[in-house]
């Protein structure tokens, strides 16, 4: 089998799975309305309520899950390529924490009243960008930080950011609290159609943009000096990709809060399945991340009925366990 053929097969399979996950997720919810029943009633000319449950409540969730899952997973795979470290992702590096800090700071300062709907994603982007360039400065000052060193700094960045968020919470008015709490746990409850559409457009654009760097990321897997010898302007490429991943993370965090480990779990398994070539890894990570988050959200919505869990709880438990497993395996192999 030739490689383009295998790649096309993998992408086709993932798209099919994604559609299935979407349909399945649209059909499950606390109200017990299934897709088939809603469709049948709609054909009979009734069931407007059912339809609106599906189109206005579940569809935005699924679309947001697609955008956020894909975006975070893409950010994860890109960061792993840039740092040449399979355990980094927006959450473990503290980029998500930075974004959450940016969002909560701007909501307290009332920036959203100044610049409208874009304020939240933009402040998330600014926070993510600060966190990532701080990490970059640390890792390039002392040469290359070791895998654990980088992760440790990332965890600390996350910790500092969430402490500042807590500080902001403790001095803020009670009515702002719920909104901030939501960013810390992570949920796909955003129902503003404009923001959902913005997330969809931006993450798909991010996927397209990331393909301008797929060869650079492949070359970088040999090491930074080797990549230079293959004609890659490594410093410039890293800066561009940091901006891209900050945009993706900032947007995802500002809409859905901190959803951890999506960018770690998904690329980790895809590397095993499709191999290390970023030409296939980028798109398949995006699609699988979307599938993973849509399904996680479905689990979160239904596992503890009638309570809806935030999706970050599910990804946090699944992803955290897998993270420890991957770290142990990597340490045992002596690769750290």
């Amino acid at each position: 089998m030739s490689r383009p053929f295998t790649w096309a097969l993998a992408v086709g399979l993932l798209v099919a799975l994604l559609l299935l996950a979407c349909l399945f997720s649209l059909s499950v919810g606390p109200s017990g309305v299934s897709l088939f029943r809603a469709a049948r009633l709609w054909r009979e000319g009734a069931g407007g309520t059912y339809l609106s449950i599906i189109l206005d409540i579940r569809l935005p969730r699924v679309l947001l899950g697609f955008a956020v899952g894909g975006g975070l997973s893409l950010a994860g795979v890109v960061l792993q390529g840039v740092f040449r470290n399979p355990l980094v992702e927006p959450y473990t590096l503290g980029v998500s924490g930075g974004a959450a800090l940016g969002v909560s700071a701007s909501s307290i300062l009332g920036l959203s009243r100044l610049s409208g709907a874009y304020a939240v994603p933009l402040s998330g982007f600014a926070g993510a960008l600060c966190a990532i360039f701080f990490l970059h400065a640390l890792s390039s000052k002392k040469g290359v930080l070791s895998v654990q060193g980088l992760l440790l700094v990332g965890v600390m960045v996350n910790f500092i950011c969430s402490s500042i968020v807590l500080l902001i919470m403790s001095v803020s008015r009670l009515e702002d609290l719920h909104g901030i709490l939501f960013w810390i746990i992570g949920s796909l409850g955003e129902t503003d159609w404009f923001l959902v559409k913005l997330a969809l457009a931006a993450t798909v654009a991010g996927l397209v943009l990331s393909y301008f760097f797929c060869f650079d990321l492949n070359a970088l897997s040999l090491g930074e000096e080797e990549a230079l010898h293959l004609g890659i302007n490594v410093e410039r490429m890293k800066k561009m990709l940091f901006i891209l991943t900050s945009l993706l993370t900032g947007l995802c965090v500002s809409l859905a809060g901190i959803i951890g480990f999506v960018g770690l779990v998904v690329p980790h398994f895809l590397r095993l399945i499709v191999g290390p070539d970023h030409r296939i890894l980028l798109i398949s990570s995006f699609l699988s991340g979307a599938i993973f988050l849509i399904l996680s959200d479905m689990v979160a919505r239904t596992v503890a009925l009638p309570i809806e869990l935030p999706v970050g709880v599910v990804t946090g438990i699944v992803g955290g366990v897998l993270f420890i497993y991957a770290l142990m395996k990597k340490t045992r192999a002596g690769g750290v």
Binding site: F215, G223, P276
Partner: protein, 266 residues
């Protein structure tokens, strides 16, 4: 082809190379030798724009490499560095990475040109039968050849090699250096190679650059550079220089202070 004009460079405060001027001409096979820490690798890094010279200029075909893009450089020169990093991919894919500077970026899939160039590079290096094996499962000799194949896929005019023979047995050492010699003769590939083994350098290189504490101590044919007096001064080790059989190039035998002399036995 490559000119270093009064180049000084180093890392931060620490100046490694001092005022080095040297011109390499097309088709030459140049060996760079010198004790540890004499600046051999730094010389290679400044000539390939990994680090910038603190003073002086590096010219490639008459143009300052500081003004050339990395991509432009990569279509003219290729580097085989230390092989210590497992890229986690198949041999054929690793060799294909050498096509990155030459390919059109918007074409995501490998075209015929790419696949044929990689195939040719693996054919020349005798790796075609290993193309589907992961690089991590190759022996050190095969892995070194795979890196050479990747460099050849770049279709360079100038090839740098940093101690390509250091972890290889004599069969693979000779195999690799014979291959490079053949490319040098048949394709007029200019070769600049860092070597630790003075006898291999003497055997294969047409010209040797001897570095000592960041300066060029000697530059010329193996016969003129590898003299007992020069080697003993630069390496601070007593040696005997003889003529090698067949090639009659200089052959260097370090003299042990702790035995190994036949007279001790009597």
């Amino acid at each position: 082809m490559l000119d270093l004009r009064r180049v000084s460079c180093g890392y931060g405060e620490n100046i490694v190379l001092r005022d080095v001027s040297v011109s390499i001409y097309q088709g030459e096979f140049v060996g760079v030798i010198g004790p540890n820490g004499s600046g051999k690798t730094t010389l290679m890094r400044v000539a390939t724009k990994v680090i910038r010279p603190a003073a002086g200029q590096v010219l490639l075909e008459g143009r300052d490499i500081g003004a050339m893009s990395y991509r432009e450089l990569a279509t003219r020169m290729a580097v085989v560095g230390p092989v210590d990093h497992d890229p986690g991919m198949r041999t054929a894919d690793m060799v294909l990475l050498g096509r990155i500077p030459l390919r059109e970026r918007y074409r995501i899939l490998d075209g015929k040109t790419e696949l044929e160039a990689a195939r040719e590079a693996m054919n020349v290096t005798g790796l075609l039968h290993l193309r589907d094996r992961p690089v991590s499962t190759l022996s050190s000799g095969e892995r070194q050849l795979a890196y050479v194949a990747r460099a050849l896929a770049q279709e360079p005019k100038l090839l740098f090699l940093d101690e390509p023979t250091s972890h290889l047995d004599i069969r693979h050492q000779v195999g690799l250096l014979d291959l490079v010699t053949k490319l040098n003769r048949e394709k007029l590939l200019t070769v600049i190679m860092i070597l630790h083994d003075l006898n291999l350098a003497s055997q294969y290189c047409g010209r040797l650059l001897l570095l000592d504490k960041g300066s060029l101590a000697s530059d010329g044919t193996p016969e003129s550079v590898l003299t007992q007096e020069t080697i003993e001064r630069v390496y601070q080790t007593p040696v005997v220089v003889m003529n090698a059989p067949f090639s009659s190039r200089p052959f260097i035998q370090p003299v042990s202070r702790e035995g190994g002399l036949k007279s001790d036995l009597y």
